[in-house]
């Protein structure tokens, strides 16, 4: 009964949320919404056990692509966002050929290197990427109205509703994937790749699948960002941003679906309330670095493990058996 009520209640809170906030806080809320999508897609990538340092650059690919489609070819913005996501996914497929010949360290360094190459290409080629200054005056979402409510998307509240809806749908899809046999196969690839291969799993194909899907959602996140802030440049997607994503994921804990989201929300709130209010905002990288190290050393399973301790549930990986509903095994 409580569970049934929980979702509508959460939705209500999320809808009401921006109205109690200041303008700048509403803007932060938009960024937070987008970041939730990025970090949740990052978790899908880590399901197969590989940690990429190129995820934020892939997000940038979605941002650049979507901005260029709307700018150069006049594509309707929502469509260009989708195309941006598809482009990011396609770039990921291309990158997977070199990258998935590597594992562990080499994958990490390889993903970092490919990300750097992409960023350098943006920097080097003024046409079409705008060089170091990047792209400006990116088209915003076209306004529209449904009866009583006018959506003007330069306003953070409107954009928050739009982005929130998109992100909610994406999270639902990510959740469906993870709790399906597909998700189980990802876990299998992670925990014992050789045994998985002996079960007929084409490791390369499945790693590529996770990487591609994750990259598509990250690209969509980038597109959502680009059309809101209206200007992007190569440094919007540098290693510092990647460290933020890593920190959210690790602080939250990558063992569960909600862990990274939790990490993202908690650290963003911490950042806004504690750091900004106390005037430590420019110490943010330092504090994030310290938090990152601290959580690896002292909280290896992330915040989620604290939550689970509180709720008193054991860490577990969800399986498809629960989705079918009835267990065939008594």
């Amino acid at each position: 009964m409580l569970r049934l009520a929980a979702w509508p209640l959460l939705a209500l809170v999320l809808v009401a949320l921006p109205h109690g906030l200041s303008f700048s806080q509403q803007e932060i809320l938009v960024f937070l919404t987008i970041n939730v999508l990025v970090v949740a897609s990052y978790r899908l990538l880590t399901l197969t056990g590989e940690w990429s340092l190129g995820h934020v650059v892939i997000m940038g690919v979605g941002a650049y692509a979507s901005a260029l489609y709307s700018k150069k070819f006049g594509v309707w913005v929502p469509a260009s966002m989708l195309l941006g996501a598809v482009t990011a996914a396609l770039i990921a497929v291309l990158l997977s050929f070199p990258l998935f010949r590597m594992k562990g360290f080499y994958f990490l360094i390889g993903s970092f290197a490919s990300g750097e190459i992409i960023r350098l290409l943006w920097k080097r080629f003024r046409d079409p990427f705008g060089g170091p200054k990047g792209l400006k005056l990116i088209e915003g979402m076209p306004d529209f109205s449904i009866g009583i409510w006018d959506f003007q998307f330069f306003e953070p509240v409107s954009y928050y509703y739009f982005a929130g809806t998109v992100v909610a749908i994406c999270l639902w899809i990510l959740w469906r994937i993870e709790r399906s046999p597909v998700g189980l196969t990802f876990h299998a690839v992670h925990w014992q790749d050789r045994l998985a291969e002996a079960c007929g799993v084409n490791l390369r194909a499945w790693r590529t699948l996770a990487f591609t899907v994750a990259s598509g959602f990250a690209g969509l996140g980038g597109a959502l960002l680009a059309h809101y802030i209206g200007t992007i440049n190569p440094n919007s997607f540098d290693i510092e941003k990647m460290v933020f994503v890593l920190t959210w994921a690790i602080v939250g804990g990558t063992g569960t679906f909600y862990g990274p989201i939790l990490g993202c929300v908690v650290l963003t709130v911490f950042n806004e309330i504690v750091l900004r209010e106390m005037g430590f905002e420019q110490m943010r990288p330092l504090i994030y670095g310290a938090i990152l190290i601290g959580s690896i050393l002292f909280l290896p399973n992330g915040l989620e493990s604290l939550v689970q301790k509180l709720v008193g549930r054991r860490r577990r990986v969800p399986g498809p058996a629960e989705i079918v509903g009835e267990s065939a095994v008594k």
Partner: protein, 255 residues
């Protein structure tokens, strides 16, 4: 009976070292075939070449006449030759049922789009039924919800077989299945293999321990230093002078 699996002139060199040297033998359909030899004889290397983990330097692995040497492990698996691993290689973090479900990957291939839309309900049911069947077969039904890493040693070994069995294999390659088992576990494991043979599954066992598979195998191939030493039924192998010599090792010394 006809040869289901055949190894022809198989050779593996690592740098200057020849681990397997021109090995040939045939595994008959529906039999339990043992591959034995002292430590370092090249059994595991041979096993890894058959299962696709290594690409042989030269020679062939024929499955129903088709050359499968050099194929990747998952490609070999998809042709019906499924292997197990030494020790208790399992998805230790997943539940017993989930382990078996991964085993059903080949008959019920997951699809990401179907999974999102929800069009794979039939496949999920089928996979679950097959996984349950595999657990039942190996007497693990009672542990379906347990974490695989928490099982006892004997149950972990059985689960390893169940995962392989869940994929409907024609040939099962077992890598030292009796290692670290007490006599009682060994006996029940032997019974399970007999049961598998009863289902028409061909079994190739690689084992260091001669005693364990004497009573089980129809045919035994004995290797030593990468070469074929002797082949025949257990009685023949037991009394083969070269085999005894290879196993006792220090006979000169004793004399």
């Amino acid at each position: 009976m006809s040869a289901l699996l055949e190894v022809r002139d198989l050779t593996m060199r690592f740098g200057g070292l020849t681990a397997v040297d021109g090995l040939s033998f045939r595994v008959e359909q529906g039999s339990i075939h043992g591959l034995i030899g002292p430590n370092g004889a090249g059994k595991t290397t041979t096993f890894n070449m058959i299962s696709g983990f290594y690409r042989p330097t030269s020679g062939q692995v024929l499955l129903r006449g088709e050359d499968i040497s050099g194929l990747k492990m998952y490609e070999v698996a998809r042709r019906g030759v499924v292997r197990t691993f030494q020790h208790s290689t399992l998805f230790a973090e997943l539940t017993v049922l989930e382990n078996a479900l991964v085993g059903t990957h080949m008959p019920f291939r997951p699809n990401v789009f179907a999974a999102i839309i929800g069009w794979d309900r039939e496949d999920r049911r089928g996979a679950l039924a097959r996984a349950a069947e595999a657990l039942e077969f190996f007497g693990l039904s009672g542990y379906a919800g347990a974490r695989a890493g928490d099982l006892s040693h004997g149950h972990q070994r059985a689960l390893g077989l169940a995962v392989a069995y869940a994929s409907h294999p024609d040939v099962m390659l077992l890598d030292e299945p009796f290692t670290g088992m007490n006599p009682e576990e060994t006996r029940s494991m032997m019974a399970l293999m007999e049961k598998l043979r009863g289902q028409g599954i061909t079994i190739l066992i690689v084992e260091h321990d001669m005693a364990a598979i004497m009573g089980l195998c129809d045919t035994i191939t004995c290797m030593s230093f990468g070469r074929l030493l002797a082949e025949g039924d257990p009685e023949h192998i037991r009394n083969h002078p070269a085999v005894i010599e290879a196993y006792l090792g220090g006979t000169h010394h004793a004399a």
